[in-house]
């Protein structure tokens, strides 16, 4: 199942005893417990597991959208748990592309403007921003929908715009949270093929959370989480249906 990308490859996400607890009323809920994970540059990893197993929490911590309550997480050599708010925001813009399940496009902006948005935080000039945004949209096959608003696009097209927005800054890592969860089978297939292409042709490291065994099989590696714990490579939770290999 697992396919290493080479022993010499750089580890760009490293967690050690990563723990995240939430306080819910008087209870403490352990979302992640002592997770040790190494993600090497160029990998495409699918994170699977039952609801509440901590998949999304791990993704959020990797994107510095949340802070761990224990352990460490280093992304691209940076201890992101120790970074300040502004530094984290800049870092995220530069190094992380995030793809949401429900696309999260800004409804009042066109596809082009949505894709251009993260570039507003860079030092690129208007002409350069335009060029980058067009390139990203062309890459996802939507250069003919640039001036459409999200509501004028299908779900699959919206997700492709969201992927274009995620890659427009040329980030090192793509973090995808159930990217096909709101899509029909055909659109899901297109989106997964696109992610696979971004990984294989453009060398993007992809960490994808999914419930869908079919989707998971587009990844090179599948890792399982169960009750907040990361299972050893190749091991799935009991009663878990192992996905069929992708043809």
């Amino acid at each position: 199942m697992s396919e290493a990308t080479g022993a010499a490859a750089e580890v760009i996400i490293r967690t050690r005893k990563l723990t995240k607890e939430f306080a819910r009323d008087s209870f403490r809920v352990v979302a992640l417990k002592d997770v040790d994970l190494d993600v090497k540059r160029g990998e495409f990893i699918a994170l699977m597991g039952p609801s509440g197993s901590g998949k999304s929490t791990l993704l959020h911590l990797a994107a510095a959208m949340d802070r761990p309550t224990g352990g460490t997480i280093e992304v691209l050599g940076q201890d992101i748990g120790a970074m300040g708010e502004s530094a984290v925001a800049r870092w995220r813009n530069r190094h992380i592309g995030f793809v949401f399940q429900s696309f999260n496009l800004i409804p009042v902006l066109t596809a082009f403007e949505n894709v251009e948005l993260p570039l507003k935080l860079t030092h690129l000039k208007k002409g350069e921003r335009d060029q980058h945004a067009r390139t990203a949209l062309r890459l996802v096959g939507l250069d003919d929908r640039m001036h459409h608003y999200p509501k004028q696009l299908s779900g699959g097209q919206e997700q492709r715009v969201a992927i274009a927005r995620a890659i427009v800054t040329d980030p090192d890592i793509l973090l995808c949270d159930e990217p096909t969860g709101n899509l029909d089978a055909k659109s899901a297939q297109e989106v997964l093929t696109l992610l696979k292409r971004l990984n294989e042709e453009y060398g993007k490291t992809v960490l994808m959370v999914t419930h869908d065994p079919h989707a998971a099989h587009f990844a090179r590696t599948i890792r399982y989480l169960d009750k907040g714990e990361l299972l050893p490579e190749g091991q799935a939770p009991e009663d878990w249906r192992t996905p069929e290999p992708h043809a």
Binding site: V108, L109, K120, L121
Partner: protein, 389 residues
């Protein structure tokens, strides 16, 4: 600004009903303030522009206004009239006019029950010193007759004071024989006739109200002011004509205070409306806020963006308020001057200063209403924002 302005503009357009209602609320507040300010601006302009630069008004010490002042014909002839420094008329007589001021009551278009008007009695020197007066209809009154001329504002606002009409005051009727215009707005609200005729009607003996004196030049004006003020036999207040009229512009202060007070009360309401609108915007766009943060926009960018959106609302409101009040610009109205107890007609003025102050007021309302919601938006945790729907 990192988050594009189009994001805010389009969001305002999407919520157009809320945007219009909120902007209109701010606009009404701004309109109340701007209307009261345009009233005082017009009043100030009317009084400020009235008065010859070399003329002095002499009144009894402490009287404050011509109406309550007394100057006798004897004092005028013996102590004032032939003072050095007083300019000469074409006739060779000194440019010093003994004047009688009363109020008369006439029904106006706005007040059918009657409004007080300034009734001024003058002598031939008084007519000669009013060379800026233009008879737009009719002619000057004749001395010795019960005739009057009226200012153009009186003729237009008081139906009974039109040319050829007779008006009743004193002991009988007076024929309106002329309508005059003058560049001095405050003087357009006067009814002028023969002072000697009026003295008899009002049983004033030889007691006039004030003296209008024209100095030869500025140096002479200062010397006259000093010498007349120090004159123990007279005990007069000596004011430049402009100073005198400017003091009367305080009549509009109460209106401005009340207008400002009402506007402030309304502003509190508008501020809460703006706050409510912005809180609703923040709540509705919680997921967008979370997304923007994930894309790398800082808390400060979020705060700035929502604050600017609130300020755009305020600008829209300010513009709406000014548009509401703009038709009032140039509208002639009257106010009872507290010094003369008579109505002064003047035009409301939506001056650049009024517009600027109103816009600043609108921005303050927008800022006060938008700041807390903007802080709320910026303070949201990313994951909380993404989950809020």
């Amino acid at each position: 600004m990192k988050i594009p302005l189009s994001y805010n503009l389009r969001n305002l357009a999407v919520r157009r009903t809320t945007t219009i209602m909120t902007a209109f609320g701010i606009g009404l507040t701004v309109a109340v303030l701007a209307a009261s300010m345009s009233l005082t601006a017009g009043l100030r302009e009317a009084f400020r522009a009235s008065g010859h630069p070399l003329q002095l008004i002499l009144m009894r010490e402490g009287s404050g206004a011509e109406l309550s002042s007394q100057v006798s014909r004897e004092s005028f002839n013996e102590v004032i009239r032939y003072r050095p420094g007083i300019a000469k008329l074409k006739s060779g007589e000194p440019a010093a006019s003994l004047e009688l001021v009363n109020t008369i009551n006439l029904p106006s278009k706005e007040s059918p029950d009657g409004m007080n008007l300034t009734n001024r009695g003058i002598l031939p020197e008084g007519v000669a010193m009013r060379e800026d007066f233009t008879m737009v209809r009719g002619r000057w009154f004749e001395f010795g007759k019960r005739e009057v001329v009226v200012g153009s504002d009186v003729a237009s606002r008081y139906p009974d004071a039109g040319l050829g009409r007779t008006i009743r005051f004193g002991r009988g009727e007076w024929l309106v024989v002329g309508v005059f215009d003058t560049p001095f707005p405050a003087r357009k609200s006067e009814v002028i006739g023969d002072a000697n005729q009026m003295l008899q009607d009002f049983q004033r003996g030889s007691l006039f109200s004030s003296v209008l004196v024209r100095a030869e030049d500025e140096v002479a004006m200062q010397a006259l002011t000093n010498s007349l003020s120090a004159e123990q036999r007279l005990q007069l207040d000596v004011l430049t004509e402009r100073e005198y009229y400017e003091r009367q512009s305080s009549s509009g202060n109460l209106i401005q205070y009340v207008g400002t007070f009402v506007a402030i009360i309304m502003a509190v309401g508008s501020m809460f409306a703006a706050m409510n609108t912005m809180y609703a915007a923040v709540a509705r766009r919680s997921k967008e806020i979370g997304t923007l943060r994930v894309l790398g926009f800082s808390r400060r960018s979020i705060l700035t963006s929502f604050f600017i959106e609130s300020m755009i609302l305020a600008v829209l409101g300010g513009v709406a308020g000014l548009l509401l009040v703009l038709p009032l610009n140039g509208l002639t109205t009257g106010i009872g001057a507290d010094a003369t107890f008579a109505e002064i007609a003047f035009q409301l003025r939506v001056t650049p200063e009024v517009a600027l102050t109103s816009m600043i007021f609108a921005l303050i309302v927008g800022a006060a209403g938008g700041l807390l919601p903007a802080f709320g938006a910026a303070r949201k945790q990313i994951l909380t924002a993404l989950r809020d729907m």
